[in-house]
Symmetry: D2
Subunit: 145 residues, 4 copies
């Protein structure tokens, strides 16, 4: 699985990028895992859904109705923000789009696990993050060695 992480209140540019990333990953047959809520998470799921992709949404609350409508399988953790670690532990690589401190926390945790992180329209230019210019570039760098 590929993880898509990012902000709840992104720019339109980030939303468009998330939609494209979701669509491109799904076309390659990749299952997506994300936090299941709005913003980047919903845009990516909508993009995946548009081409019949599978998206697992790992929700912070125990309430399944909080999932955005494009999630294939919603997981209601009840663990709050600790659900982020489930996403990081489950996916083998990540595309980080936009995002504030919460996204930085996820990026850092993924890097601490030695996992690949591609950054797209994100201000977190941390050592270890691979910068991408576009959704196409992000997906290409995800699959490159």
């Amino acid at each position: 699985m590929t993880g898509i992480i990012g902000g709840k209140n992104p720019s339109q540019q980030a939303l468009d990028a998330a939609y494209q990333v979701g669509m491109l990953l799904s076309k390659k047959g990749m299952t997506i895992i994300c936090g299941g809520l709005g913003g980047v998470m919903e845009a990516a799921a909508r993009g995946a859904s548009s081409v019949g992709g599978t998206v697992i949404g790992v929700l912070p609350s125990a309430d399944l109705s909080t999932a955005n409508p494009y999630i294939t399988h919603a997981i209601a953790t009840g663990f709050g923000d600790a659900r982020n670690l489930i996403i990081i532990n489950t996916a083998t690589a990540f595309i980080a789009i936009d995002g504030e401190y919460g996204t930085l926390s996820e990026i850092a945790f993924a890097l601490s696990r030695g996992k690949k992180v591609i950054g797209l329209h994100t201000k977190w230019d941390i050592e270890g993050v691979i910068s991408a210019e576009s959704p196409e570039d992000a997906v290409a760098k995800l699959f490159s060695d």
Copy 2:
């Protein structure tokens, strides 16, 4: 989703029942969620897999390779036994097969959430658990009002 919970070291009768329950639920188009490891979890996933069903396995460790081979989507939580609560929070109803104290803990937590629990070949005859005589009976009682 329906949760299947149960022991890691069940009797052959319980394994056969879990296989049948997995198969019957999948034939009805129900996605299954379980703990992703061996015993009842593996037998149910194998039954589901035999008819092309979807099984989400919520693992205790952060290591995806611990999932049994019949899991469609493995979720690596890294949360140990606390992953049981994710299964309980996510499924709307449960079939409990066999099981020791760990299964009782899950049954009780599901009942505390007001969720339906069907018991099959289980010694936990707790108030609130609906007893079933066979895999077919368990699935029938799951779908009845």
Copy 3:
């Protein structure tokens, strides 16, 4: 540490017993761990506090202000009911007072860990629970081999 587990809406008898248990354990120099909220948890902490005992309250929310006023050290988990497992993993033995399905879930999880559970004014007469007649009896049975 000793864990005190029990209901949020107990009878007066259970509240009185929890207060006594908290006081008796503290007099023996035992640190108490509980869920940090109301009912049995608050009564036990109040009993401990009355004799200068130490009580660690492991809260479900990330909000420290939800702790009852008798907690010495409040731990804000943000993990919801999964915080129960922290109490079970941390204490070496438990006194369960009153309680509904949530308490049964904790009792079962403690027994699955091979830990001693004393039951006082509780309806959960599960195999493995040691029944006590009074707060004094519960504390005596906690310390006996």
Copy 4:
């Protein structure tokens, strides 16, 4: 409570700083919360212990024996690295010493909660982290408005 976060394999300079920070905070009567293991966590606990301070150690495993010997109250979570969020949710402010990606993840999560983070001998010069020159400076900045 004040949280002390930092690396498992710090430099001698960082260890000395952690010891001093632990001692200085304890002298001010502040309870410390940390991850309970070695490196910065142990040095800070040892410094606190040297002046009779109280240190709560929130362990990743369910095994109390993994705590370093200077912890006053060890909490065995069994939640792996997710225990970091408990530390962040519980303390009102943090001193981050040394540390790799794991520490960055904690810093970012603390900042996402709007909490104060003082950085000492750490390479994570993230917007929002208040830089300190010495243990004394770190503690002074912790208590300043």
